[in-house]
């Protein structure tokens, strides 16, 4: 036996007797002999904690810890110490979906707080209790808009969305049977004239645009929502919730749905996950929104309490008639975001954005001053930007890695995209630029 299985030989004997069989093998006697596994598993023998720690340490040593100057959907923001401590409360992390509200008020209440924060940030009226990641949340938004439109089956997505998000949306829509049109980009932003033409087709159920976009540009969508709504289509925006403390919100742009990745709300990079997908929508779209939703109510004694609500939309009730197969969510990551936003507040989020923005512009100006990097787009950006370079990006990045830095993302054709968060100091930026010129 081992430390996770408590059965003593005596226990097993007592239990077998109660059941009326001679051995545990008898409990599997209904299984055809030909499918019983008789071999040995090809995995190592049990490790003690000491050995396990050592093994992980050895694996960890094969990774290089870098000062990150890249984004591309994962940002190295500061994560307060408090978060890890609160998330390690096992009353939170060893619970399941709050099916029994009487003993799950902790989970239900933090999700309600999370929903409240997402609503504040996006300006929209309803938020679900989270999705897997930003890309799948965006794919769900595409399916949601088609379900909402009933007879129209086309979704138009801007080519300026992050390519990894577009890829996942393409996968979902291809199999789900949604017609997807990619709106071309022009000067680094969505070609709104091309979009207007697509809208004239009359079969567009929804439009998805990013803010900020794949180059880091904060696009101007003036007049877009009116145009989209005039053909009875919906507007979804993929955004970075951290930046919504300072940038014009989806609601202010007239969007019906906001979605994206919540990793920027203090979550570790963790080699790509777990992160947090978020989705919010206007009241009118609420009943088409996928995922769990928590609502406030009262109990039999009049106490305020929280429950999972609007469950009639969900897969376990509607089965093949549901509009999404979402079952679980990223609840614990929603708690991550909730504690982060609670600690930072409005002022902290504004400061994070200001620091990141100042650092990014400092790096941008410094790069242009070297003469080796050139302006590509003359468009506003916050913490992430794209420049053109004469340098060999691959070579530069290899050299940077050897010096403990992760350089910008190679977009090809000499384009390279940098991101700066509040964690990067002036000294680090100066050194980064020096190293790049040395490479």
């Amino acid at each position: 036996m081992n430390r996770y299985i408590p059965h003593t030989e005596e226990d097993i004997k007592v239990m077998l007797e109660k059941i009326g069989v001679n051995s545990t093998d008898d409990l599997f006697s209904d299984i055809p002999e030909e499918v019983i596994f008789k071999g040995e598993y090809d995995i190592p023998s049990a490790m003690s904690e000491v050995e396990l720690r050592k093994h992980f340490q050895e694996l960890g040593d094969k990774n290089t810890r870098l000062k990150v100057f890249a984004g591309g959907g994962a940002y190295d923001h500061y994560s307060p110490s408090v978060i890890g401590h609160l998330l390690s409360r096992s009353e939170f992390y060893t619970a399941y979906t709050p099916y029994q509200p009487e003993i799950s008020q902790g989970t239900l209440q933090y999700i309600f707080e999370y929903q409240s924060m997402i609503c504040e940030l996006t300006g929209l009226e309803a938020s679900n209790a989270s999705m897997y990641d930003g890309a799948t949340a965006t794919a769900e938004a595409a399916m949601m808009m088609v379900a909402s439109a009933k007879k129209k089956n086309r979704v138009a997505i801007s080519a300026t969305l992050a390519p990894r998000v577009v890829d996942v949306v393409k996968t979902y829509t291809k199999f789900h049977g949604v017609d997807l049109t990619v709106i071309p980009e022009k000067d680094g932003v969505t070609d709104l004239e091309a979009l207007a033409e697509v809208l004239e087709g009359g079969d567009v159920a929804g439009v998805i645009v990013p803010c900020p976009n794949k180059y880091g540009i904060v696009e101007d969508f003036t007049g877009l929502a009116e145009k989209v709504h005039s053909v009875k289509a919906l507007l979804a925006m993929n955004c970075d919730p951290s930046t919504l403390a300072v940038l014009r919100t989806p609601a202010e742009w007239g969007a019906d749905i906001a979605c994206g990745d919540g990793q920027t709300l203090g979550m570790p990079l963790q080699f790509g996950g777990p992160y947090l997908g978020f989705m919010a929508c206007s009241k009118a779209q609420l009943r088409k929104m996928p995922g769990r939703v928590v609502g406030a109510t009262k109990d039999a004694d009049g106490k305020r309490a929280f429950v999972l609500t609007l469950q009639a939309r969900e897969q376990h009730i509607r089965r093949e008639k549901a509009t999404s197969n979402i079952c679980s969510n990223q609840s614990l990551m929603a708690l991550y975001a909730t504690v982060y936003v609670a600690l930072m507040g409005k002022k902290g989020l504004e400061e994070v954005n200001k620091l990141s923005c100042d650092g990014a512009h400092y790096l941008y100006n410094k790069l242009l001053a070297t003469g080796k990097f050139h302006k590509v787009f003359d468009k506003p950006f916050l913490k992430e930007f794209t420049v053109r370079t004469d340098l060999d990006v691959k070579k530069v990045n290899e050299y940077l890695a050897s010096k403990g830095y992760m350089g910008g993302i190679d977009l090809g054709n000499g384009l390279v995209e940098f991101a700066v968060t509040e964690k990067r100091t002036k000294e680090e930026i100066d050194e980064l630029v020096t190293l790049m010129l040395e490479a």
Binding site: L52, Y96, V246, F271, A300, R304
Partner: protein, 487 residues
Amino acid sequence: MKYYDKLIFELSRPGRVGYELPKNDFATEGEKAIPSDLLRKSSLDLPEVSELDVVRHYTNLSNKNFGVDTGFYPLGSCTMKYNPKINEEVATMAQFAELHPLQDPDTAQGALELYWNLQNALANLAGFEEFTLNPYAGAHGELTGLMVMRSYHKSRGDHKRTKIIVPDSAHGTNPASAMVAGLEVVEVKSRPNGSIDIEDLKPLLNDEVAGIMMTNPNTLGMFETEIVEIAKLVHEAGGLLYYDGANFNPLLGKVRPGDMGFDIMHINLHKTFSTPHGGGGPGSGPVGVAKHLVKFLPNPHVKKDDNGKFYVENGDEALGSVSTFFGNFGVMMKAYAYILSLGKEGIKEVGPMATLNANYIKESLKDDYLLPIEGACKHEFVFDGLKDKSTGVTTLNVAKRLLDYGFHAPTIYFPLLFHESMMIEPTETESLETLDEFIDVMHKVAKEARETPDEVKNAPLTTIVRKLDETTAAKNPILNYKALKNS
């Protein structure tokens, strides 16, 4: 302890902060970077609280929750086993936590090796050629697996196969995933014992069928004994078999799904491989396939070259991608630690001990609770409510009464085959003493149902809140603090 019911927003005091950021050494480089038309104009009402406010608030909230660490959690189909602490520790190691997913693979060899090792361990444990670890959850794995299925048929120019057979006893995610994947669900009826009737299945098999989704043991905890014959029939009809790995736990050490004839499966790492459920997530739903389907698995793929170096590859024939990066890597770390902790010997005990525990409870309680299916169950089983229903005490009443006695309730009203379903899954990590305590309480509740039924119907009586008004919550949804304040 004092009852705590504040919302974090209600602790807010203007000017209070809970953070400290590095000093801004930059001039005002970023000032006016964004034109005012593109800036936020509306108010942003977030809490303004101190660090201690935040710590106390969420600590108090945690006290209002029941987890596996609090007590027995026999929630059927969810495999609420113990979540080992060492797994939590290694998963937060800085060498992994600080890794950017787009780092040059040369600088992330340890992470890629872990991914590779885990994908191989799962392939070996489940009897498949290869796994992708990219899907984020069980339902996401189902969707990915069905996309593999469709890609396979499409690659053969077999475009007619748009139907999928799903038993009426299946988890709700099965038909919903099929719908998302663009497949039409054809339901096959279960026999009274929940298993698939081959005679009902035969007429459904034709050249429009992409495949069948099965859970084995099924949602009643019973093994589909005719699986070999079913696999043969489905394959002969040109279809593929999908294995819903939600019920994989009892088979560890006994049967590999790949050996039963399944072509595709997902595994819930948060069930069988002990990673915490996290209040509903993050989970992880790796998908394994037989050899002829490997090329369809979603991008990115983690590969190893002849020199033992790991690299990342995006295949042209892949179905596309279903995740931004490599899936929930942090969750994979925990599952990997679990497999190494149990080792090849320990893993073999999981299925038999989970099965022993379930059968022990079943046999101990069938005097008071209606057992619709006799015979050895696997990791879980279903009662159809109390045997004596004369006093009108329902499964919901029993479930709520269990909360008073310090147990989490079983899964209730699923599967849909019975009116009063009560699905119990103890898992292998529970001791005989815990099972006996649960059995005693279940007997006690049955006795109360006979003698003082009104008390049971009124349960729970001792929880911090009770009998929540769910009807009003759905009719007049209050979904955020602003709405609550204005209500």
